[in-house]
Symmetry: C2
Subunit: 219 residues, 2 copies
C-alpha cells in the first residue's frame, strides 16, 4: 500500500489548511487505495481569523497540530517525528496556513523562513526520489524549500505578483488553469492552482484529483 503524507497547517482557509482541498486530497488518495499519514507542526498559528468576518481575532491562540487534527479526525503526527522513509510521497494542501504557519511567505515573500521540520522532511523526500504534490499557495513553500537546492517548475495559477516572488526564489512558474496541473518530472513535483483560481469546489477538485493521480503514478 502506498503511504502518502499530507502536511496540514491548521483548519480553515484564512489561518490554516484550506478544508476543501484537504478533504478532496484525502478522498482521492483513499479511493486510489493509498494510506494517508496526516502530519502538522506542533506550533501556534500565526494568528486566528474569524472566518465569518475575515478579521483576525486579537489575543486568540490556536495550535496548528491540534486544529489540523479536526481535518484528520485525530489521526495525525507531529511533522518533526515523521521520516522520509515513512512515506512514499508527500502532499501539501493550500490555505493561508501553508504561507503563514508552515513558512512566512505570506508576510515576508521571498525572504521568508520555513518551519525547520517541514523543510527537512520535504528535502529528504525529494532526495529519496519520492514525488511531492502541492496545491494553491503551497507551491510557494516548495519554491522556498528548494531555493538553492534545485530549480523546480511549478504553478500557483496565474497570480502575477506571487509568480514573480516564486521566480525570485529560483523556481520557474508556469501559468495553469484550475482544472489542470503542472508536472516537473525531473524533480517529481506536481502542482495545481486549486483555490488560487477556483470559483467552485468542483473546479478545485478536478485539478487536485489529477494531481493526486499523477503523484501516485510517480510513487
Amino acid at each position: 500500500m502506498t503511504r502518502v503524507g499530507v502536511c496540514l497547517s491548521g483548519c480553515g482557509v484564512n489561518d490554516g489548511s484550506e478544508i476543501h482541498e484537504s478533504v478532496i486530497t484525502l478522498l482521492a488518495l483513499d479511493r486510489a487505495g493509498a494510506e494517508v499519514v496526516f502530519m502538522a507542526p506542533d506550533i501556534d498559528q500565526m494568528h486566528v481569523v474569524d472566518h465569518r468576518t475575515g478579521e483576525p481575532i486579537p489575543g486568540e491562540v490556536r495550535n496548528v497540530l491540534v486544529e489540523s487534527a479536526r481535518i484528520a479526525r485525530g489521526e495525525i503526527r507531529d511533522v518533526a517525528e515523521v521520516q522520509a522513509s515513512d512515506l512514499d510521497a508527500l502532499i501539501f494542501p493550500g490555505g493561508f496556513g501553508a504561507a503563514l504557519n508552515l513558512c512566512t511567505f505570506g508576510v515576508d515573500g521571498p525572504t521568508c523562513t520555513v518551519h525547520p521540520a517541514v523543510a527537512q522532511l520535504t528535502r529528504a523526500v525529494h532526495q529519496a526520489g519520492k514525488p511531492i504534490g502541492a496545491m494553491c499557495i503551497a507551491p510557494a513553500l516548495m519554491a522556498k524549500i528548494f531555493e538553492g537546492v534545485t530549480a523546480v517548475n511549478l504553478t500557483i495559477g496565474t497570480d502575477a505578483a506571487t509568480a514573480e516572488a516564486i521566480g525570485a526564489l529560483g523556481a520557474r512558474h508556469t501559468s495553469c488553469p484550475v482544472t489542470e496541473f503542472v508536472v516537473d518530472r525531473e524533480n517529481k513535483l506536481v502542482t495545481t492552482p486549486a483555490y488560487m483560481l477556483a470559483q467552485r469546489i468542483s473546479e478545485a477538485a478536478e485539478g487536485i484529483e489529477k494531481m493526486v493521480k499523477t503523484v501516485l503514478e510517480m510513487a
Copy 2:
C-alpha cells in the same frame, strides 16, 4: 438552479460538523449543478474538544456560526434568517455538533431539545413538500424534530442504543450499510450512516453521494 441548504454545527467531528461529510456533500451538490446555501445557528458550542487528544478544553468558547464559516469559506447565513422559501432542499451533515449544538440528543437522548430556528426551518421545508437529507447522527435530530408531527423512517446505521432512542421518538429505524441509504418517500427524508459506520472516507462518500443524488431527484 436547485438551491440546497446545508446546515452546519461547527467545524470538527468531536464538537461540530464532521468535516469530511460536509465537504463531500458540498462537492456532490456542486458537481450536480446545485447552489449551496450554508447556514448554522449563531450560538456558542456546547463545548470545545481538542481533536488530537479527544478531550474537552475547559473554559474555551467557540461560536457555532463562526466555526462553521471555516467549512463554508465565509459564505454562511444565520439559520434564524433562512426561510423555507429560500430553499429547494435541506441537508444535515453529522458530527457531534448535530447532537450537541443543533440539539441536545447527545446529552439528553429522546428528551432532548432542538435549537428553535433549526426545528422551525426543518418543519417548514417538510411542510412545503421539499426533501431533506441527513447523515451520521443527524437523523436522530430529524426524529426529534418530527416527533408528534409525522412518523419518519430513517437510518443511523446499526447502533442499537441510538436506534432504540430514535424509536422512543416515534420514528422507525432501518439498519443500513455505510455505502447505502434509506428513503422515506412519504416524508421525503433521505438518510445514510456515513461516519456512524465508515472506516474510510471513501465508504462515507459512497453513501453520501447516493443520498445527495436522491435528494436532488426529489427536489
